[in-house]
């Protein structure tokens, strides 16, 4: 009897991908498809990768383990960012302290770059630049965890230098020969708002040193350049009295010249439009307040057009990732839901009507478009 019960537990099988036909095949415009990185709840080791193919209309969920079945413990814990450069797909896996490097076409693993507590990635002239919260290892009684930007040679996948910036740097953007880094100070502001960082670090790429800081606001998170190279920076606020906002940095003046009073939890800039959503907790309503807005990056005005026009916004529990297809202008928004169970991905056409939606992995958050002309 014991034997029959003992045979109940079998070898654990790896999980294969799922194909879901979500849309009719479409003419490919500039991009073959996109990858969607699901973060997975911290400690669950459930970061996963999905792929959508424009030409077939098929959404393939959870492709990493099937393509790379021999990697122990799969993709890792907390996928934080994803990017494609030079035919390679880079996935920043925060709590696994690594950047997973894959072939951009096949998602076949090429290798990994170990960067502790890595956050976001950008590329420039053969190098990848990655922000990290990890403090330097030094003996100091007043130890402070200053963050850094790591420089990685994309040919050798070796880290070749670090440039220390502010505390807990999040997104970065590269314009010309300069890297702009949004410092958050996220580890330090919990008790006192003044503990948060409020600067964008400007790094000269050639010297790879921080040459300047631009004062913006407390607890910065995102930084994205528009078509003119001007920067749009978001502050998370302090989760208390100070609400989240969006700031404009004039590239030439290297200073904040405008503030757009909207919560921009996440946004995507396409042409001259900035597509943003904001989620803010409302203590009175005891619920999240979610708003979707489009900002004209030339006039800095909020465009009257709605991003979602068919009422689907009422179904999105927790918008998380956002992307706009540069050619079709379709808007993709992910829903992280309750963050412990699978989320959803919505595709809206340029008129704000839902085209399709699909279940994703847990906390779907980060997109990478796969261009047609990638080798």
């Amino acid at each position: 009897m014991i034997y029959t019960i003992s045979s109940c537990r079998d070898d654990v099988e790896m999980i294969l991908s799922d194909d879901i036909a979500v849309n009719n095949p479409e003419a490919v415009k500039g991009y073959k498809g996109f990858y969607l990185l699901n973060e997975g709840n911290m400690g669950s080791n459930k970061a996963s990768l999905d792929y959508y193919n424009f030409s077939t209309g098929v959404y393939t969920r959870n492709i990493y383990a099937e393509i790379n079945p021999t990697v122990p413990k799969e993709m890792g814990d907390v996928g934080n960012d994803i990017g494609i450069y030079g035919g390679k797909l880079y996935a920043v896996i925060n709590a696994s302290n690594k950047i997973e490097v894959m072939d951009a076409e096949t998602a076949k693993r090429i290798g990994q770059i170990d960067i502790p507590n890595c956050r976001f990635i950008k590329f420039h002239k053969g190098y990848a630049y990655v922000t990290s919260y990890a403090g330097p290892v030094i003996i100091d009684p007043d130890y402070r965890q200053i963050g850094f930007v790591a420089k990685i040679n994309t040919a050798t996948l070796k880290e070749i230098g670090r440039c220390y910036v502010g505390f807990q740097p999040d997104e970065l953007e590269i314009i010309g020969e300069k890297i702009f880094v949004a410092n958050s100070g996220g580890y330090m502001g919990a008790g006192d708002t003044e503990g948060y960082e409020r600067c964008v670090s400007v790094i000269d790429i050639g010297r790879f040193t921080e040459e300047k800081r631009i004062d913006v606001a407390y607890n910065l998170e995102r930084i994205r350049a528009d078509s003119r190279g001007d920067l749009w920076v978001s502050s998370r606020g302090d989760y208390k009295g100070l609400s989240a906002s969006l700031f404009f940095i004039d590239r030439k003046k290297e200073a904040v010249t405008d503030t757009i009073p909207i919560a921009a939890t996440n946004y995507w800039i396409d042409d001259d439009l900035l597509y943003a959503y904001g989620t803010e907790w409302n203590n009175v309503a005891n619920d999240w307040q979610i708003a979707y807005r489009i900002v004209d990056t030339r006039t800095h005005a909020i465009v009257k057009r709605e991003m979602i026009t068919d009422g689907t916004d009422k179904e999105i529990e927790k918008p998380y990732g956002i992307m706009v297809h540069p050619e079709t202008k379709d808007v993709y928004i992910t829903d992280a839901g309750n963050s412990v169970t699978p989320g959803a991905l919505y595709c809206f056409d340029k008129d704000g009507k839902k085209k399709w939606s699909v279940r994703t992995g847990i906390i779907p958050g980060h997109f990478a478009l796969l261009p047609n002309d990638e080798p």
Binding site: L16, G76, N117, K318
Partner: protein
Amino acid sequence: MKKTTFLLIFIAAVFSSAANFVCAQSAGDTTRTLNLDEVIVRGTRLQREVIPVQSLSGEELRKLSAFSVADAIRYFSGVQIKDYGGIGGLKTVNIRSMGSNHVGVFYDGIQIGNAQNGQIDLGKFSLDNIEEVSLYNGQKSNIFQPAKDFASSSAVYLRSRTPRFEENEKTHLKVVIKTGSFDLLNPSALYEHKFNDRLSASFNAEYVRSSGRYKFRYKRVFPGTHEVMYDTTAVRQNGDIESVRFEGGLYGRIPEGQWQWKGYFYHSERGIPGAIVNNRWMNSQRQWDRSFFTQGMFRKSISPKYDILVNAKYANDYMRYLNPDTTLMLIDNTFRQQEAYFSMANRYSLEKNWDTSLSADVQYNTLSSDMDGFVFPKRFTALAAAATSAETGKVKMQGSVLATFVRDRIRSGNTAADDSVRAAPDKKEFTSAFFVSYKPFAKHQFNLRAFYKYIFRMPTFNDLYYTDIGNVNLKPEFTRQYNIGFQYNKQWKDKTVKEWQLQTDVYYNEVNNKIIAVPKGSGQYRWMMMNLGYVEIRGIDLSSWALAELYNDWFLNLKLSYTFQKAQDFTKRKSEILQESTYGGQIAYIPRHNGSLIAGLTYKSWQFNYSFIYVGERYHSSANIREEYEQPWYTNDMAIVKNLVFGKTNLRASIEINNVFDQDYEVVLNYPMPRRNYKFSLTVEL
């Protein structure tokens, strides 16, 4: 208005007891004798229980390959233990899927509190000095108890050993040493002394040291072909623990009553081994705990109709958490908790078969920390319970109502001046429970029983006030329980089977306003607490016990338990996709089926014990999809015990082999459990 009503009830409870005390004393009746200490706590185990109870005690408990209280509780039906692995790993108990915060854990009659997070780590409670572990669904079937005993959805009672002496005996000494896998070293000593017939004392000390190192293995095969994709073995790191425990008690008898006073001290340092994830197979977080409490109980029969029970406790807990890893957020925080508790319970017999009781408790909790933004919460809780029990021939009934008042206060403390911190609003709740049992046949020990209970758990200090995470608007989390079941017991004098017992209960529970953590904004560094969930639980608990004499002097003792649970998440989702993935799904880590078997074979001074635990397939969340699926696990443990007697000295030696079939399993995702392991112990009793 409501508040005034509450206060009146409360004041009435306190004063009526005082008044009755005076009246009763003047009555001065002294003819009634009291039962022995343990009977009071244990209740009438094999008699008619109005309330479902399961217990393990004495020799039964010692024979199990159980290190901590958590290991023993796994054998009860309706129970899930969350075990993060190893001797130092966190172990919490969840009864009938209502959540671990709904389980009251009582140590020698008084609840163990943790106002900070409501979490009682049963792994910290050694079985060394525990005489009995009992689990009650609903509440203990005794109306003569503090109001707090009415205040949780289910309760675990731990009863430590009380001194007992043979005729002419004055002292007892017991020394135990245990060693085995994980570099375990675990000596303990117990000394009991009898001053006179009215006063005895005991002192107990224990030391535990373990490296917490064990091998674990992760293996994946390709579906269908079962071709091995990866197969990695590693050693669990940073799971070490070192702890000491001292416990002392005085036990006294007075005319028509008894009293008890005890002190408890525990100190430990442990590593937090953490989740095993890709590219990170080791963690470096540490935790220090220091718990001290002292508590007393006084009980007296004032008159044949009137009894009083007074309980008091003071507890002081210190916890330090350190994350020394500079690649992560550096954390070095200490938390200090204090609790003061006083309770008075009164029982008055209206008729021979009709008792009433009134209890009033007050409790004060504080929490302080050097954490940034900490608000130093203080909580005053007052509880008043009125209960009655009646027996009319075949029917036995119990009913209780409980009034709870909670007031929190905070101070701005470590927060910045302009922060608008505030305390959670006062809570006033009235809850009730009703129990009935029916014995249809005079000649058979067959009882039908049913109960209903409505109760809540308060949001903890962490839920409400943890810097940036807490939410002061949280409502209490309510549970509603309906239960119907039976108990059957039969004894034979001349047959192989000497005794057989079976109990089965069918239940339906609801959990409302479930408190759940959700991330704040983007990224996973900031979370907040919300009342989000609604869960319905439908289950069957079954347990059976039999004793047989197989052959001359060969005794077999069998204990079996089985639980079926459909614990479904009926939290409404906003979209069809999300609704499809979680609505109606089995909640996280609750198996549909689980069970256990304990078989003990005794021949003269030899004992052989075998125990088996089975936990069926589960999901990591209420999305019951293959990505969240977890296979069943089961462990087989064995022990051989030999008892020797040399004059007045008793010796006992045991060898345990746990997880005999070397199964790799996880109770909690990414927390691997130990494979086959061993333990040896030697006990000397003088």
